[in-house]
Symmetry: C2
Subunit: 237 residues, 2 copies
DNA sequence: CGACTGCTTGACCTAGATCAAACGGCGTGG
DNA sequence: CCACGCCGTTTGATCTAGGTCAAGCAGTCG
């Protein structure tokens, strides 16, 4: 079994071998032959912060950076629907019912495949379909978490929940008791659009958390959490 | 082609033939052999309004009635995450990250299969996996629609959007210009828990819509919409 | 008939929005 | 090098949409 895996591993395309997403949700479903086929059709992109990602049917591994998904109401009010942190992947079969815009929050590295290749592989690789389903359900769970937050949490619970979510994504191997620090990849305006608040309220809640000793703020964007556990008490669920 | 389908049709299990879900999202993915296997393992239930549906791993076609999905915060605040209207189907592979409770809003008829059977069939029927994926993505789209509503819409926009959603589900073949009427399967408390409001605010917005002439209310629960289009103007997106 | 449950309406209150001012870091140009 | 403008942010003062509290109404059930 180990031997067989090694043999396959030897056939993995050179550009895939050092790839951060090689063992990720999408690519680890493929055998060496499929990887080779994908590698031929794939291309890497560097994308600058602020760039909007076009919604052609492509699928992409997000190798580095953070992407936001947004929806706008007719008069310009904006809601952020979710984030993708590396290593995640972007793209979906079937069109969404309403349009969703994807935009890079930081500089972003993508490895993209045309949708047609993936769509075909779904039929020959049941495991791929399973991965996509699992991924969609995970995004559904996230969306529902935020529904509960948007509908029923107070401003300070929303901000605490948000910091917790970012911390968990920036360092998935977190220890709940130890402290953690990171640079927020979002402006206060983005945070407000995600939490259904205004920038002023977000700013006030940051200040309050700081004076509580729950967080430390350096340079507006760099945040240190005393501990994950400390914030969990403040997030209401 | 038509002949072949007729031949298959002849083999369809007797209990499936008159079933409202026979051509539905789930069952229309199966051939006659699979339907026979499923029919053997399936069972029909009548469930009374108010009953909580246990979250064992079963999958069910919802043949009649309406089901709500809810999440509770630690202090009892409740958010409704979504609804299932007949003919929809319930159940999912992989556990949700956080617990979600399903409860019948009206009397409900289910046709249920053990999860093990479905999980096995996913591997032998790529079409089934595709259906499940499509269904999950559709629920994701819905959840995101409501994220935008919860985060950024006013109370009256939320109520208008809600009525629109119910109307579309109660009569999917709606004509946007013609009037439509139906019985709300929810109490004001449920509506409030869905929209992130209080029952008083929901009630006030109903009254306002009534005095605007956008809706007519008989017996608290029976609602008539002047037209779908009239409400669409009020829902903000 | 009385008790209960769901709904409506009114009076008042507050969390968070809005409006306004000022701060600080950063890039540009003199 | 400093002066200036810009942008994101903070903080304060005030306002308001929607929450809270309270009373009363209409079905419904026992």
């Amino acid at each position: 079994m180990a031997a067989r895996q090694d043999a396959q591993e030897a056939d993995v395309p050179a550009i895939c071998k050092p790839c951060e997403a090689r063992q990720g949700e999408l690519c680890s479903a493929f055998n060496a032959r499929q990887l080779a086929e994908l590698a031929k059709a794939s291309s890497r992109h560097e994308i600058l912060a602020g760039t909007e990602l076009s919604d052609d049917g492509t699928y992409s591994n997000l190798l580095s950076g953070v992407v936001k998904l947004t929806r706008n109401l007719s008069d310009g009010r904006q809601q952020i629907l979710g984030f993708h942190f590396a290593p995640d992947f972007l793209g979906r079969p079937f069109k969404a019912k309403k349009s969703i815009k994807a935009q890079a929050l930081t500089n972003v590295t993508l490895c993209s495949f045309p949708g047609t290749v993936i769509d075909r592989m779904i039929n020959e690789t049941p495991e791929l379909g399973r991965r996509l389903l699992k991924h969609a359900l995970s995004e559904l769970d996230d969306a529902r978490d935020w529904m509960a937050a948007l509908g029923r949490k107070t401003a300070s619970e929303k901000v605490a929940s948000f910091l917790l979510m970012v911390a968990r994504n920036m360092d998935p191997a977190h220890h709940p008791q130890s402290s953690i620090s990171f640079d927020l990849p979002l402006t206060r305006a983005d945070i407000a659009d995600f939490l259904g608040l205004t920038i002023e309220t977000v700013s006030r809640e940051f200040s309050r958390l700081r004076s509580n000793g729950a967080i430390r703020i350096a340079n507006k964007r760099h945040i240190s959490l005393a501990s994950i556990a400390r914030l969990e008490e403040r997030c209401g669920d």
